[in-house]
Subunit: 510 residues, 2 copies
């Protein structure tokens, strides 16, 4: 394809017609086309298995399903990897040793999903009853039947918890290997597979798995498949992730709910107390006002700044798509904003709203704060900065319900529960193996591949560094508008298909 044609195609923005059509990758695409019903049926069967950590029976059913899918494709040494004293969140492992290969790449994805509230999903949707839609529901898509013989329209989407985060990753990786095998293509590297089962819960036990199986998990590189491609629709290679930790805060009023007429003005109102406390944490420009919150941030390198400058601007497009006119941090682009730590309210509740609202003064108000961290931040220190701020607002801070004695002594009491969490991680963009990854992903598209210093989201990648001294690079595949972590999660089939091609290219990288 000559340059002129490429430019014209870019102008028309038809991603799936653009492709560096190497003979190998054409074979991979053909394999998908010929086997799409079986591939998608299997994916849908996996999506139908609930995958919330804590539901250990179903978590194990997911793991068994994946093991079976790997075994039947000839992947070797398939097994479950367990933490030291916990059988409930196994990782699924498998490997393919390639004669003559000098490098080993582990492909990572996770099969667990975020908690669900089925009632919040759109009409006709249920988290573990996957359905097919003509396109995004937000864009007017409707639920349609899964075709049995007709080819899929790749703009169709599958809606289910885990559809994009991250069972699409698991099945794209497995099917990429399958495509190579079935079409006679040869991997250039030894391939290992590692599918985690508790990522959405915070990967509390991952370090034990990495330590317990450190020799099995030796590699030159981990390719992490999680998160979405760039909002512009361009494929991206990501060199770091933000860290993550949570702070749950509950403030207290009366021990029993009170009639808001008989006690209004006199009984303390926990919802108002929490509002004032939260309002004190950010200024009107969206900057966190907690003392020291930004102090430890390591500035971006010149290379990272350059990469950021090359990221296609998506702010206008995204504001339009998402329906708001002003970003939280005034004057900052999305790409810049994710390079700073955050304090975000995930949820906030006191009493009821809507038809269940009552004329009460509630007994407590609770919020869940999500701290994202960048290079330089220590998650426990960031949590302690929040605690110090709460104390500075006059609160007596405890990590359990207050006693009667404490209630009579302290006017403002906050229960603050700190989650386990983890720090951010970054891989240098100029490593030789990083250049090979970029080249492999670039080989699947004639469009720009976005190079991101960090993903806004979090993965416990520091663990791979800490326990295995391993290098990690993230290659996400999901559509950016996948409703990850929320109701109506979905994957666009084109992204799933493209994912298979990207991983096939990485398995053949030179």
């Amino acid at each position: 394809m000559n340059k002129k044609i490429i430019l014209m195609s870019v102008a028309f923005c038809c991603t799936h017609f653009l492709w560096a059509q190497t003979p190998q990758l054409l074979k991979v695409r053909k394999h998908f086309e010929n086997n799409q019903h079986a591939i998608i049926n299997e994916f849908v069967s996996l999506l139908a298995i609930p995958n919330i950590v804590g539901d250990s029976v179903n978590i194990r059913r997911n793991a068994d399903f994946i093991m079976n899918a790997m075994t039947k494709r000839g992947i070797q040494n398939v097994q479950l990897l367990f933490p030291t004293n916990n059988k409930s969140v196994p990782a699924v492992y498998g490997e393919v040793m390639v004669p003559g290969a000098t490098q080993t790449i582990i492909f990572y994805a996770h099969y667990d999903g975020q908690p669900v509230i089925p009632s919040q999903w759109a009409k006709g949707l249920s988290p573990f009853t996957p359905v097919l839609t003509s396109e995004s529901l937000e864009k007017g898509g409707t639920i349609i039947n899964f075709p049995t013989t007709q080819p899929y329209d790749l703009q169709n989407r599958i809606y289910a918890r885990g559809a994009s985060d991250d069972k699409a990753g698991v099945m794209a990786i497995i099917n990429a290997y399958d495509a190579l095998m079935k079409t006679g293509l040869k991997p250039t590297v030894n391939i290992k597979f590692f599918f985690e089962g508790e990522e959405e819960k915070g990967s509390d036990f991952l370090h034990e798995i990495l330590q317990n199986y450190s020799s099995l998990l030796k590699s030159d590189l981990w390719i992490i498949c999680d998160g979405p491609v760039h909002q512009s629709g361009l494929k991206q290679v990501v060199f770091g992730v933000r860290g993550d930790a949570h702070v749950d805060v509950t403030v207290y009023g009366s021990k029993r709910p009170l009639h808001s007429g008989h006690y209004g003005n006199w009984a303390p109102n926990p919802a108002m107390m929490l509002s004032k406390l939260l309002a004190s944490m950010k200024d009107d420009n969206g900057r966190v006002t907690i003392k020291g919150f930004y102090d430890d941030v390591i500035p971006l390198t010149e290379g990272e700044k350059k990469a950021l400058a090359a990221v296609p601007p998506v702010d206008v497009q995204m504001k339009n798509e998402l329906g708001f006119s002003e970003q939280e941090m005034k004057g900052m682009s999305l790409a810049e904003a994710i390079n700073l730590p955050t304090l975000n309210i995930n949820g906030m509740q006191s009493g009821s709203v809507g038809k269940n609202a009552s004329n009460v003064i509630t007994t407590s108000a609770t919020c869940v704060l999500d701290l994202r961290l960048v290079a330089g931040n220590d998650f426990q220190k960031q949590q302690q900065l929040v605690v110090a701020h709460i104390k500075a607002q006059g609160y007596y801070v405890i990590d359990r319900e207050p006693t009667d004695e404490e209630r009579s002594k302290y006017p403002k009491i906050a229960k603050v529960v700190l989650s386990s969490g983890y720090n951010a991680q970054k891989t240098k963009m100029d490593l030789p193996i990083a250049q090979k990854v970029i080249a492999a992903v670039q080989s699947t598209t004639d469009e720009q591949v976005v190079l991101m210093p960090t993903l806004g989201g979090s993965l416990p990648l520091f663990l791979f560094d800490k326990y295995l001294k391993a290098t990690t690079i993230t290659v996400p595949i999901a559509n950016h508008d996948n409703n990850q972590h929320a109701e109506n999660e979905n994957i666009r089939l084109l992204n799933f298909r493209n994912g298979i091609e990207v991983f096939a290219a990485l398995m053949m990288m030179r």
Copy 2:
């Protein structure tokens, strides 16, 4: 009983041993003792019928039950009174014309209840499956069987929606009349019964009933039975109520829930927006900062101030009982605080907390604000002051979901929904008929009867004034710790029994 004995008894605080034992009222008490199982069984059967406005089938079942209870006691002209074009929230009416009586008193209570969230009720409780407990659950009471032959311990409580608010009122009034009839006592006044079916919904249609049946509802006085006795345990007569109106506020972020990692710092966070908005509405001393909020308050009269000064102080006791150390309006007693208008958060929600929390930035945050009003306030004006304040914080205010165009134009959008509401009402404490009411209630106890210028809670008493030019005085009976409007609502049997006696005395007032 001589004065010395009375004082000793007060010192021992045994309310139910103290009683001005007029022969008439001794008969009423004896009647209760002899018929307690039948009386309580009937009350429990009524509590088992769900009574949430909107559930019109069950609302009607309640009304039918009450009509039947009245008819079988010989109450005359029993019928349902309907609003003009609404059959779903009838009031139940009945009357007893007494030969020679020159005054007519209407006894009011309501049979509908606040909405329920069954999951929030304590273990073993369900809103419409009444249970008996040994004493208050908060004080260590346990669920016990209803006795079949043994007398009830009057410290026992019945837990159910409506137990205290306000089916106890309905059944105490009916049984007071029944006690007079069964013991040969004679009412001194014509008695009318009026049991409303939509009080907790805001009495939207009450004015139509009052207008449609104005001649049937002619009277010299309405005795309103709703709300609790004084927190000291003393009986009280209340000469006014606060008005009430609501303001529901929803603020908006992205149209779809976003991954808090990928968009944190950049996407606006509705929970933080709402926190800042709410925090702007009150200062740290609990005073509302909305411009003009207290401007229209009519100061208390000298008589009201004197009555307030005689109210036994309960602040220390109540703080101890409720488990907090500092009231919302600093330096103000409970009795003083309820003589001011309020802005109270009934409920507040954005996303989820606890085990359903997800790593998201939510699409919206909602709160329900409860405005209580005192004499001088106009409810619509108070609502508009809140709206003006929200606008002054930079919000574009609408009363529906924002359009895409509005989203792209206004950085801060609030949907503000104003409820219907009503103003406060006050009856002069020095009216002759008011003095008769005080004397009748005082005849049932040797303890002080608390005279309250206003109840903290609200009833649509202005309607009786506006549409019937009627005088209203409130005589509540429920225990103050009844969890009215919340989970675990309950009535102490002693309060129910005392209520029967008080209404019997009022029916015989001179």
